[in-house]
């Protein structure tokens, strides 16, 4: 609901809000410039002194104004010609022109009314209202995503656009709230909706009828410091019945021009004061630093607009549309989805439409939006959850377990949990199992026992659907067609084959970049922009389910390179190993931001075995800045599967690779890569001391062995792989 509001308000308001923000940023510079350039009055100076000085310099002075920045302007007649200037209060002399700055005037009119007068003011006020709602709804989304307001600044994960969007929002939201709320107040004030009209004292009935009292003798002027002056208007020359009008930050009063006596006074009303404060906050007048801060926060708006748009487009492609999504409050079945890459959303969409067809009111939401208070009509919950890494929550399920633990009691409506995963991983459905266990621990009644779906199997899903239907007393037929990612035909341009003699043929395959549409190139998505460590999904002919390979090249290299080992009975690896140059396979890019080269200069310790060297070789290839890189590589036999041997030698010679340690697992003295680590532990310790990041890629067993060896090596430093992981200095890509 909040997300829908944020999105469907944000998209149409994008242009207007961006215009408001950019013009506002440009305007924010002026008060600061005025504050710096305007000569200021000394502390104790009175209005009487100032007026006398100006009167001496300009005998026909008509009005003196002081802006909130402290700038003093005088208006006078010079032999019948109106004139004005910025005044130096120390001398009373003119220092600069007081004509309004045409650029500032142009920007102001754009900012508040698009040069369209009232219609424009209303449009811009709508823009400000949109910004206010976006700021509030966005904050709620951030809090929900982070798992609570207290975790506002929790570290972020995921693609760059999303991180940038939230990162900027976290810093800018306060300024945007202030800017938009004050803008609405000012519009209301301009249109006369607020009782903040200036109050003037009753016109004095009796004036002395004399003129030319010395300014210094007027008690009110002598008692008013320049710092509280707004405006002093002189009486009309030749009109003995006219009076001095003094406006200060406290009110308005009249003074007799013959006697100097105060003839009337009206204080500012509370509403007027509030409106003036709000004007000051919005424009930065008299608070130049605040103005600059607001301007700076507004600068985040165009970037948030662009990233928001990108997020929406990405979501549009990555996640199927849920049709007929019931409001959370009136849904009887609540479908919660924990998905990392988006495929689980596809299953959710199938289930959603089947349940809806069976006459149910269903609400589908990410697991991170779990909040039983919002689902007041829920009679059952269904959780569809994938797993991230070694049992972590997938992106759309963040914070779910914390929320469940934080409930005073588990919901009474019964629960079914279905896990999605890949049985070849030891942590198969680990997160979904953790959810089921936590629910059981809280005494949440079960609708169905825990079930799992292996490798997106439509059959297993359909079987579970029958069980769910039986529990609900309805016919539930789930025909799930996995959403096929948008693939490109990739042509193999070259291949290098290794290790025919160890019964595990391995090859480095290089594909040409596919031709891309202008839109793709512009948005730099998919094949237009990838890096070593990202994943190449290959959809084999014999199965609709893609297999993923770590990329050993980035888009800058101009080709796609992966390392493939033939598995016994492997569908995809079999097809790839049989592929001849000139032939094609269907593939797509999946970003893998956690296993990428970061843009810093810290040393790297790269550890890999077998095909795991692929992305590591890609990192070394991309190391044009020659940061120190230590590579530990485990192979079977140097004569058969020393992948990238020639390149590694060339990269070492070019300074892209600092050291290479290899381990050979077949032969007289079998050694694994963790043994090489232990042998070079002094080197490893030194690198870690220098802030090195450890990146591990390869099989699960190897990764476990490496973690064990590193635990021993790091112990004297008071460090461990777990600590480094928490700091983001130890990342794994294991399979």
């Amino acid at each position: 609901m909040i997300r829908a509001l944020h999105r469907w308000l944000g998209l149409p308001a994008l242009v207007l809000v961006t215009l408001l923000a950019v013009s506002g940023t440009a305007l924010s510079v002026f008060p600061a410039a005025e504050r710096i350039s305007a000569p200021q009055a000394e502390q104790a100076m009175s209005v009487a002194d100032l007026a006398a000085r100006i009167k001496a310099a300009f005998p026909e002075v008509e009005q003196i104004r002081r802006s909130p920045s402290g700038r003093i302007t005088a208006y006078w007649f010079d032999g019948g010609t109106p004139a004005s200037a910025v005044i130096d209060p120390a001398t009373g002399a003119a220092t600069a022109s007081a004509d309004p700055n045409p650029v500032q005037r142009w920007l102001t009119n754009l900012h508040r009314s698009l040069f369209l007068d009232d219609a424009g003011r209303i449009a811009m006020a709508a823009g400000a209202a949109a910004m206010l709602v976006l700021a509030i709804s966005g904050s709620m989304l951030i809090a929900r995503r982070a798992g609570g307001w207290r975790r506002w600044f929790a570290p972020l994960r995921g693609p760059l656009a999303g991180r940038l969007h939230v990162e900027l929002a976290r810093g800018a939201v306060l300024g945007l709230l202030l800017s938009s709320a004050t803008a609405l107040w000012m519009t209301a004030s301009t249109f006369g909706f607020l009782p903040d009209k200036a109050v003037v004292p009753e016109l004095p009935s009796g004036v002395s009828g004399t003129t030319d009292a010395p300014l210094a003798s007027m008690p009110l002027l002598a008692a008013t410091p320049v710092s509280s002056l707004r405006e002093l208007s002189f009486p009309n020359p030749g009109d003995a019945t006219d009076v001095f009008t003094l406006k200060t930050d406290g009110g308005i009063g009249y003074l007799d021009q013959g006697t100097g006596a105060t003839l009337g006074w009206a204080g500012l009303s509370g509403w007027t004061r509030v409106s003036e404060t709000i004007y000051m906050l919005h424009t930065g007048q008299s608070a130049a630093l605040l103005g600059l801060f607001l301007g700076l926060t507004a600068l985040a708006v165009p970037v948030m607009g662009a990233t928001g748009l990108l997020l929406w487009l990405t979501g549009l492609k990555g996640r199927p549309r849920i049709r007929d999504n019931a409001a959370p409050g009136c849904a009887e079945t609540v479908l919660l989805v924990g998905s990392e890459g988006g495929s689980t959303w596809g299953f959710a969409a199938t289930l959603h439409s089947a349940l809806t067809r069976a006459g149910q009111r269903v609400h589908t939401a990410p697991m991170s939006a779990f909040d039983p208070g919002r689902f007041s009509g829920a009679r059952r919950y269904v959780v569809l959850a994938a797993t991230y890494g070694d049992g972590d929550a997938p992106a759309s399920a963040k914070g779910f377990l914390d929320r469940l633990a934080g409930l005073s009691a588990a919901p009474a409506a019964r629960l079914a949990v279905l896990g999605f995963g890949d049985r070849s991983f030891p942590a198969f459905c680990a997160y979904a199992r953790a959810v089921a266990a936590a629910a059981e621990g809280r005494g949440w009644p079960l609708l169905l026992p825990f079930e799992s779906v292996d490798r997106q199997s439509p059959q297993e899903f359909a079987r579970w659907g029958l069980a769910l239907g039986a529990a609900l007393g309805i016919d539930l037929e789930l025909n799930h067609l996995p959403v096929r990612p948008e693939v490109k035909e990739l042509m193999l341009v070259s291949r290098r084959d290794y290790s025919d003699d160890v019964q595990a043929p391995t090859a480095i395959l290089r594909f040409a970049l596919p031709s891309l549409s202008a839109w793709r190139r512009l948005t730099r998505r998919g094949f237009a922009r990838f890096e070593a460590g990202d994943l190449l999904g290959i959809v084999p002919e014999a199965s609709p389910v893609p297999r993923f390979y770590s990329l050993a090249s980035g888009s800058r290299d101009g080709f796609l390179e992966i390392v493939v080992r033939k598995h016994a009975g492997g569908i995809c690896s079999g097809e790839l190993m049989a592929l001849e140059p000139g032939k094609t396979v269907a593939g797509f890019i999946r970003p893998n931001p956690t296993f990428r080269l970061r843009r810093d200069r810290v040393p790297l310790v790269l550890i890999g075995a077998g095909t795991g060297i692929g992305p590591l070789a890609g990192f070394i290839r991309a190391n044009t800045s020659r940061r120190p890189i230590h590579l530990f590589f485990g192979m079977r036999l140097p004569g058969s599967d020393f992948l990238y041997r020639e390149e590694l030698e060339a990269w070492a010679a070019a300074g892209r690779l600092s050291s290479l340690s290899t381990a050979v697992s077949r032969g007289a003295r079998p050694r694994y890569v963790q043994h090489a680590l232990t042998a070079e532990q002094l080197e490893v310790v030194r690198a870690i001391r220098e802030g090195a990041r450890v990146m591990v890629c390869g099989g699960r067993q190897m990764a476990a062995g490496v973690a064990e060896a590193l635990t021993r090596i790091l112990e004297p430093l008071g460090l461990s792989p777990a600590i480094l992981k928490a700091e983001g200095r130890y990342v794994e890509d294991v399979y």
């Binding site: 208006y75 005037r105 009232d118 301009t190 009209k197 208007s233 009008t245």
Partner: protein
């Protein structure tokens, strides 16, 4: 160029014998190119003693800014009931305002004076920008303003 017909604005403000006799009068003001946003103008009449008698026209619709028409505001307290139905848009720099309204015969050659207060955003307030006596003879004669108005005239 704008032409506005305001009906008997002063009839409610002034209770003078012979008010029933009225004639159409056209007031025209051309603004200087003063390089600012649209000017607010208040056109009003004072009696032979100099006291405020009634408003003829106010250009500018945001009552928030009326305080800058300072003489007129002081006389009326910015009471918008005073100018109900006789307001229009502010007048841009270099533009011309023209209003036709019915003015009582009794106001002419009787010591009444037409005043204009003017103001523009972030620029000086110019109360009493124009002050011309209402006389049959003065009709059609152009008078310059002090700051914003290049010339002003009324035609019978």
């Amino acid at each position: 160029m704008r032409t506005i017909f305001a009906a008997l604005a002063l009839a409610t403000a002034l209770t003078l014998p012979g008010m029933a006799m009225a004639r159409p009068v056209t007031l025209a003001a051309t603004l200087k190119s003063y390089g600012g946003n649209g000017a607010y103008l208040a056109i009003y009449v004072t009696d032979p003693k100099g006291a405020y008698a009634g408003s003829l026209w106010v250009a500018g619709t945001k009552s928030k800014y009326y305080e800058h028409l300072s003489d007129w505001y002081r006389a009326t307290g910015g009471n918008t009931a005073e100018i109900n139905g006789i307001t229009g848009a502010s007048v841009g720099a270099g533009r011309r305002l023209e209003i036709t309204l019915d003015l009582a015969d009794a106001l002419f050659d009787a010591g009444y004076t037409v005043h204009i207060d003017a103001a523009a955003e972030d620029m000086r307030d110019s109360p009493n920008e124009i002050a011309v006596p209402l006389t049959a003879q003065g009709a059609g004669q152009s008078v310059p303003g002090r700051r914003y108005i290049a010339n002003f005239s009324y035609d019978l």
